[in-house]
C-alpha cells in the first residue's frame, strides 16, 4: 500500500511537470509578454516604455528560459519560467495583477467554495443514487420509462437555465431566500445554489447510475441471490449496490478534491466569494497569473483525486490490493 502510494506520487510528478510546461507554453510562448502588455494597456496607444514598465511591474522583464546575463544558478532561476512557472511546485503562485498574493486569496476563498460544493456533492450523490435505484427497482415499467424520459429532458436543459430559472422562481417570485450574496447566516445563502446544483445534475447522473445498476443486475451472482429466496429489494441493496459502487466510485471520488475549486457558474451567479468566482473574475479581467495558478491547482487536485480513487477501491473491492 505504502509502496503503491509512493509510486503513484512519483508518477504524478512528470504529469505535473507536463501541466506546468503546457501552461508555460500557452501563456508565454504563444504570446510574448510584450503582447500581453500591449493587450493590457490597450492596443492603440502604447509606447515601448509603457510596455517595459508594465513588464517590470509584473516581473515579466526576464528571459523565458535561460538568462545569459547572469552567472551561476541565476542563469536558470532568474527567468520567467523559474519564477512564474516552476515556483508553483512549492505552491508559490505569486501575485495577481492587482498586487494581492494569489496563495492567500486561494486560502480565504476555499471556505465559501466548499460551503456550496460539498453539500451539493453529498446531497446530489444521495439523490441521484436513490432515484437510479428506484428506476432500477421498477425497471421496464411505466415508472422507469417516465423516469428515464424525465432524465433525458432534464439533461437536455442548459445549466444556465437552471440557475437563471431557479433564481427567478425561488428568489424573485416567491422571495424564499436571497437571490445572491454570502455572509452572516450563510445557510440561507447556501440553500438556493445547492438546490440548483443538485437539480441540474439529476438527469445525466441518475441515468448513468441506472445503466450501471442495470448492467450489474444482469450478472450471474444476482441470479444466485434470487435463487436463495432473497427479495428484489434485498438483492438490490445488499448485492447490486455493493458491486455497482465500484464503477460509481471511479467517476465520483476523482472530483472530491476538485470541490475546493468550487463551481464557476454557480458562484458567479450567486455572488459567492469562492474560488470559482475568483477564476471567472480573473478570466474577465484577463489576469493570467490567476488563471495559471488555477490551472496548476486544478491538475494537482485532479491527480490527488485519481490517487484517492485507487485507495477507495481497496475499501469496496476486496480483489484490489495496491502493490
Amino acid at each position: 500500500m505504502i509502496a503503491y502510494l509512493i509510486r503513484r506520487i512519483l508518477y504524478a510528478i512528470p504529469i505535473l511537470i507536463g501541466v506546468n510546461l503546457l501552461t508555460f507554453a500557452l501563456f508565454f510562448v504563444v504570446n510574448t509578454p510584450d503582447d500581453m502588455a500591449r493587450m493590457q494597456l490597450g492596443i492603440k496607444r502604447v509606447t515601448p516604455e509603457a510596455i517595459e514598465h508594465w513588464k517590470e511591474q509584473h516581473g515579466y522583464n526576464k528571459p523565458l528560459l535561460v538568462n545569459r546575463g547572469v552567472k551561476g544558478i541565476g542563469k536558470i532561476t532568474d527567468t520567467i519560467f523559474w519564477q512564474k512557472s516552476a515556483s508553483m511546485f512549492v505552491l508559490d503562485f505569486g501575485f495577481s495583477d492587482d498586487g494581492r498574493s494569489i496563495s492567500r486569496e486561494i486560502y480565504t476563498r476555499m471556505g465559501p467554495s466548499m460551503a456550496i460544493a460539498l453539500p451539493t456533492f453529498i446531497i446530489g450523490l444521495l439523490c441521484y443514487v436513490s432515484f437510479a435505484l428506484l428506476m432500477t427497482l421498477f425497471r421496464a415499467t411505466a415508472l422507469d420509462i417516465a423516469g428515464v424520459s424525465l432524465c433525458v429532458v432534464l439533461m437536455s436543459i442548459s445549466g444556465l437555465f437552471y440557475i437563471i430559472g431557479g433564481q427567478f422562481l425561488i428568489s424573485k417570485l416567491w422571495h424564499w431566500v436571497p437571490i445572491s450574496g454570502y455572509g452572516e447566516g450563510a445557510f440561507k445563502f447556501i440553500v438556493l445554489p445547492v438546490v440548483i446544483g443538485v437539480v441540474s445534475g439529476i438527469g445525466s447522473s441518475s441515468r448513468w447510475y441506472r445503466s450501471i445498476f442495470l448492467e450489474e443486475i444482469g450478472k450471474d451472482y444476482v441470479r444466485t441471490a434470487r435463487a436463495k429466496g432473497l427479495s428484489e429489494l434485498r438483492v438490490l441493496f445488499t448485492h447490486v449496490l455493493k458491486n455497482a459502487s465500484i464503477p460509481i466510485l471511479t467517476g465520483v471520488v476523482v472530483v472530491i478534491p476538485l470541490l475546493f475549486m468550487g463551481s464557476l457558474l454557480t458562484e458567479s451567479f450567486f455572488g459567492i466569494p469562492g474560488l470559482g468566482n475568483y477564476t471567472i473574475d480573473a478570466i474577465n479581467a484577463q489576469d493570467f497569473s490567476i488563471v495559471r495558478a488555477m490551472v496548476f491547482l486544478g491538475s494537482l487536485l485532479y491527480i490527488a483525486g485519481l490517487i484517492l480513487t485507487d485507495i477507495s477501491y481497496t475499501v469496496v473491492d476486496p480483489r484490489v490490493r495496491l502493490t
Binding site: L26, V30, I283, Q286
Partner: protein
C-alpha cells in the same frame, strides 16, 4: 446586384464534414453489418422524429453557411468594392426579419413597444406612451389578426407537408433511400405534419409580427435564435474533426502497440485531462484572444475575425475533449488485440497497419459513433456556458450563449423581459433533446451487448 461568394474557415470545415458524411453514408450502404444497426434506428419512431427535427436545424445551419458579399454601388477608383458585411443565403431568405429592427424591446406578437417613450403627438405635445412598432401589425389590430394568420399558416403548412408525404409514398417503391421503413410509421408522419403546421404558422406570422419579440436594440429574437443554430451546430460538429482523428489514432495505437507508445500516449492524455477542462479552455481561449487582438490586420471583415475565433474555439474544444474517447478506444483495443482473429492474422504475418485498419478500427467504429453523437449535445450546451464565462464565441457572433448573456440582466427589469432568454433556452432545448434522443437510439442500435436475434432470422 452582383456578389462574390465568401468561404469562411468554418464554412470550409462544414463542407469538409459534409463530404466526409456522404462518404460514410456510401460506405455504410455497402456494408451489411453497418446497415443493420441503422435499420434498427430507422424503425425507432422517436429517433426518426428527432432526426426530422435535427435535419430542419441542419437545413437552417447549412443555408446559413453559404456566405457572400454584395457589391457596393459606389466604386472606388473604378474597382468594384464589396460590402464589408458578410451575408448568407439564409439572411437573404429571411431578409425582412433581419432588416425590420425596432427601436428597442417589444414583446412577442406585440404591436407596440414594451416601454414608454417620449413622442410628440399631433398637437405638438410631448407625451409618454407605448408607441407603435414600425414593422408589426400593419393597419390591423389585435389578437384576431394574429389568430387568423396562425390558422391560415398552420393549415397551409399542414397541407404542403401532407402533399409532400403523399408524393413520397407514391414513389416509395422507387426510392433508393435505405431507411424507407422508418418513414411510413404513423407517429413520424404525425410529427412531420405538426412540425410543418408549426412552421407554416410561424412563417405566416413572421411576415407581419415579431413572433418572439425584439431585444434591447430592436432586433428580431426569432432571427437571432435561427442564426444561433449554425453556431451551435458548428461547435457540435466541427469539434469532432479534431477529436476524432486524435482519439482514434492515438487510442488505437496505444492499445495495440502497448509498450513505450502506450506510455507516451497515456502521458499526454493524462496531462491534458488532469487540467479541469473549463480552465484549460479558458486559458487557451484567452491566449487566442490576445493573438487575435494584437493582429487586427489579419482580418478583412469583422465576420471573418469572429469566424476564425469560432474555428479556434472548436479546435480548442477538440484538443481538450479527445482524451475521454481516446481512453475508451485504448481500453477496447487492448481487449480486441487479444481476440483470436487478431492472433490468426498475426500468424499469417499480416502487417500491423493492416491489422489496425482491417480488424481493429472496424470493430471500434460503433464506440466512435456513439461517442460522437453523445458529445454533440454536450458541446452545444458547453458553448452557452463558455460564452457566458467570456471564453466562448466572439461577442459579435450570434449564438445561444451570447443571446443568454445579453438577455440575462433583463430578468431583473420591471416589468421583466423574458422572451429572449426563453427563445434561446427553448431552441437549445429542442436541439439538444432531439440530439440526445437520437443518440440514445443510435447507442441502443449499435451496442453489441444487447443481444438480438433479427440478424439470424
Amino acid at each position: 446586384m452582383s456578389f462574390i461568394p465568401v468561404i469562411l474557415w468554418s464554412d470550409a470545415l462544414v463542407f469538409l464534414l459534409l463530404a466526409a458524411g456522404m462518404l460514410v453514408v456510401s460506405y455504410v450502404r455497402q456494408h451489411e453489418y453497418l446497415r443493420l444497426p441503422w435499420r434498427r434506428v430507422a424503425k425507432n419512431s422517436v429517433a426518426m422524429v428527432s432526426l426530422l427535427v435535427l435535419s430542419l436545424f441542419l437545413l437552417v445551419g447549412l443555408l446559413d453557411t453559404l456566405h457572400y458579399r454584395v457589391e457596393l454601388k459606389d466604386k472606388n477608383a473604378g474597382k468594384t468594392v464589396y460590402s464589408p458585411e458578410v451575408l448568407s443565403v439564409f439572411d437573404k431568405l429571411v431578409e425582412p426579419l433581419r432588416l425590420h429592427t425596432e427601436k428597442t424591446y417589444s414583446a412577442p406578437l406585440a404591436t407596440n413597444l414594451y416601454s414608454k417613450e417620449s413622442v410628440t403627438d399631433v398637437s405638438g405635445n410631448i407625451v409618454r406612451e407605448y408607441s407603435r412598432l414600425q414593422y408589426a401589425g400593419g393597419q390591423k389590430e389585435g389578437s384576431r389578426d394574429v389568430l387568423r394568420r396562425a390558422l391560415f399558416g398552420g393549415i397551409a403548412g399542414f397541407i404542403a407537408a401532407g402533399l409532400l408525404i403523399g408524393i413520397r409514398r407514391a414513389f416509395l417503391h422507387r426510392s433508393p433511400f435505405p431507411v424507407r421503413a422508418g418513414w411510413v410509421q404513423s407517429p413520424v408522419i404525425f410529427a412531420a405534419l405538426s412540425i410543418a403546421g408549426l412552421i407554416g404558422m410561424t412563417v405566416n406570422l413572421a411576415g407581419a409580427y415579431h413572433v418572439l419579440g425584439t431585444d434591447k436594440v430592436g432586433q428580431d429574437v426569432l432571427y437571432l435564435s435561427l442564426k444561433s443554430i449554425r453556431t451551435g451546430l458548428i461547435i457540435g460538429t466541427v469539434t469532432t474533426l479534431v477529436t476524432l482523428p486524435l482519439a482514434l489514432f492515438l487510442g488505437v495505437a496505444a492499445g495495440y502497440f502497448r509498450g513505450w507508445v502506450d506510455d507516451i500516449i497515456q502521458y499526454i492524455y493524462t496531462v491534458l485531462s488532469s487540467i479541469p477542462s473549463v480552465l484549460l479552455i479558458a486559458a487557451a481561449v484567452l491566449m487566442m484572444q490576445v493573438t487575435i487582438d494584437t493582429h487586427p490586420n489579419w482580418f478583412e471583415t469583422a465576420a471573418s475575425r469572429a469566424d476564425l475565433r469560432l474555428v479556434f474555439l472548436c479546435l480548442i474544444l477538440g484538443m481538450t475533449s479527445w482524451t475521454g474517447l481516446c481512453r475508451l478506444l485504448r481500453g477496447e483495443t487492448l481487449k480486441l488485440r487479444e481476440m483470436e482473429y487478431i492472433q490468426a492474422a498475426q500468424s499469417f504475418g499480416v502487417s500491423s497497419l493492416r491489422i489496425l485498419s482491417r480488424h481493429i478500427i472496424p470493430n471500434v467504429m460503433h464506440i466512435i459513433l456513439i461517442a460522437l453523437v453523445m458529445d454533440f449535445s454536450g458541446l452545444v450546451l458547453a458553448e452557452a456556458v463558455l460564452s457566458y464565462v467570456g471564453v466562448g464565441v466572439d461577442p459579435s457572433m450570434i449564438s445561444f450563449g451570447t443571446m443568454i448573456n445579453g438577455a440575462r440582466l433583463e430578468m431583473a427589469r420591471e416589468p421583466m423581459v423574458w422572451w429572449a432568454l426563453a427563445a434561446a433556452f427553448g431552441f437549445m432545448l429542442v436541439l439538444v433533446l432531439a440530439a440526445n434522443l437520437f443518440a440514445d437510439a443510435v447507442r441502443d442500435a449499435f451496442d453489441p451487448r444487447l443481444n438480438r436475434t433479427e440478424g439470424d432470422l
